[in-house]
């Protein structure tokens, strides 16, 4: 793989993604997703929202799956034991269905800080692509914030660009 390319060569502008403060409710974020992506048929990979604190520090990210799991009633969350009965577990969704109108609408009033994935891992603009790939693989991430001097949020690096860069190297050889 080309040694010359680093994170800053592949990173994208943070304004490609909607920003929300942590106190926004799930309901408000759902509306933002509708306006920013679904209504305009824009489906970036990943389809994500960035969550900030009151001083514009990145706190976390939210993808569609985080929202849906935030709307799921608490008792349906799988336990260690339930993993043995995969079939039955899926059937539990019937309960969610019957409770949906009341339960999910209440849960939608929760702040997004409760459902976001906290931003714990970062890369620097001059870090290697492999470092970004390593963090994504080992921490199940599709998006990594790029911080300058561990502080200033300057961009994002996505799995798709990293994949592209690595696959180019594979196909060349």
């Amino acid at each position: 793989m080309s040694k010359s390319k680093v994170v800053k060569d592949l990173m994208i502008d943070v304004f490609e993604y909607p920003h929300v403060p942590y106190w926004f409710t799930i309901r408000q974020v759902i509306k933002i997703i509708k306006v920013s992506f679904i209504s305009s048929k824009k489906y970036p990979e990943p389809l994500a929202i960035l969550v900030f604190d009151e001083k514009y520090n990145l706190m976390g990210t939210i993808v569609l799956k985080d929202i849906l799991s935030g709307l799921e009633p608490r008792f349906m969350r799988p336990t260690e034991k339930a993993q043995a009965y995969i079939q039955e577990e899926a059937e539990l969704s019937i309960i969610w269905d019957t409770l949906f109108n009341t339960e999910a609408k209440n849960l939608a009033e929760k702040p997004v800080s409760e459902i976001m994935v906290p931003a714990k891992y970062f890369v620097e603009p001059d870090d290697s692509i492999t470092k970004a790939a390593y963090l994504m693989i080992h921490h199940d991430l599709v998006l990594l914030p790029v911080l300058e001097n561990k502080k200033k949020f300057v961009g994002l690096i996505r799995l798709v660009e990293i994949f592209d860069e690595i696959s180019n190297a594979i196909l060349k050889e």
């Binding site: 909607p18 920003h19 926004f24 509306k31 933002i32 920013s36 305009s40 900030f52 514009y56």
Partner: protein
């Protein structure tokens, strides 16, 4: 050309600039070979239209700014401010970016996928909370505002003086609101207490550049709206003064 027109042209062409003392009635009579009555009526007419100002015992001077049309008012708008002699402290509670949720896109007249800068400040007098100010500015209007010191500087001054964005219009709405839990906590009042809410839409040319919502605690300060009409320097002030 009549004397009235001659003098007006001299002012408009800036041959006689602002503050210039025009010749005496006697001198004008001699220079233009007209009667004293003609001179007097021309001057009175020009004073009435704001071109000239008469100062008792001193003479007649060219006014600061010429009113081109009697129906036009030159008005500058002031940001909602608190009188200078009142000691105000400002806490910046938030200075971040969000998307326009709820009815904010309509209020700012932008599309829902545009990023906006959100600034929330708490104003205090004698260490007691008095005013919550929330400001929303489309990010593309002034990106550096995100990192500006909004504790010490007025947003109005930053926009106009530092970034050259002239505010040419403000629309103000007054209403009474009932505080939510968070607003009540900030203003030391219980939830659902009534408070005055002032919402302001700021325009630059035809574009709306800012939306501000200020919630005022009842008492302590009163809101004064003052309109001063001076030739060439009319202004509308909104300010808080001590009760």
């Amino acid at each position: 050309m009549q004397l009235y027109e001659v003098i007006r042209k001299k002012i408009e062409d800036k041959e006689w600039s602002v503050g210039f003392q025009i010749p005496t009635e006697q001198e004008l009579c001699e220079d233009f070979k007209v009667s004293r009555a003609t001179v007097r009526s021309a001057i009175l007419e020009l004073v009435g239209q704001g071109y000239l100002t008469r100062q008792q015992g001193k003479g007649t001077f060219v006014s600061k700014k010429v009113i081109a049309n009697k129906l036009t008012m030159f008005t500058t708008f002031g940001e909602l401010f608190i009188e200078a002699e009142i000691d105000v402290a400002t806490d910046v509670l938030a200075q971040t970016i969000m998307m326009p949720v709820d009815d904010l896109a309509d209020k700012l007249n932008i599309s829902g996928d545009k990023h906006i800068i959100y600034i929330k400040r708490l104003r205090k007098v004698d260490n007691k909370p008095i005013l919550i100010q929330e400001t929303y500015i489309p990010f593309h209007i002034c990106p550096p505002l995100l990192e500006e010191n909004v504790q010490k500087n007025s947003l109005f001054e930053l926009l106009e003086k530092r970034y050259g964005i002239q505010i040419t219009g403000v629309r103000n709405y007054f209403d009474v609101t009932y505080l939510d839990a968070d607003e009540g906590r900030l203003l030391d009042l219980s939830e659902s207490s009534p408070a005055l809410v002032l919402t302001q839409h700021f325009f630059s040319g035809g574009t709306q550049i800012m939306y501000m919502r200020s919630i005022k605690q009842p008492g302590r300060l009163e809101l004064l709206i003052e309109f001063e009409k001076k030739i060439g320097d009319d202004r509308m002030n909104f300010k808080f003064s001590k009760l």
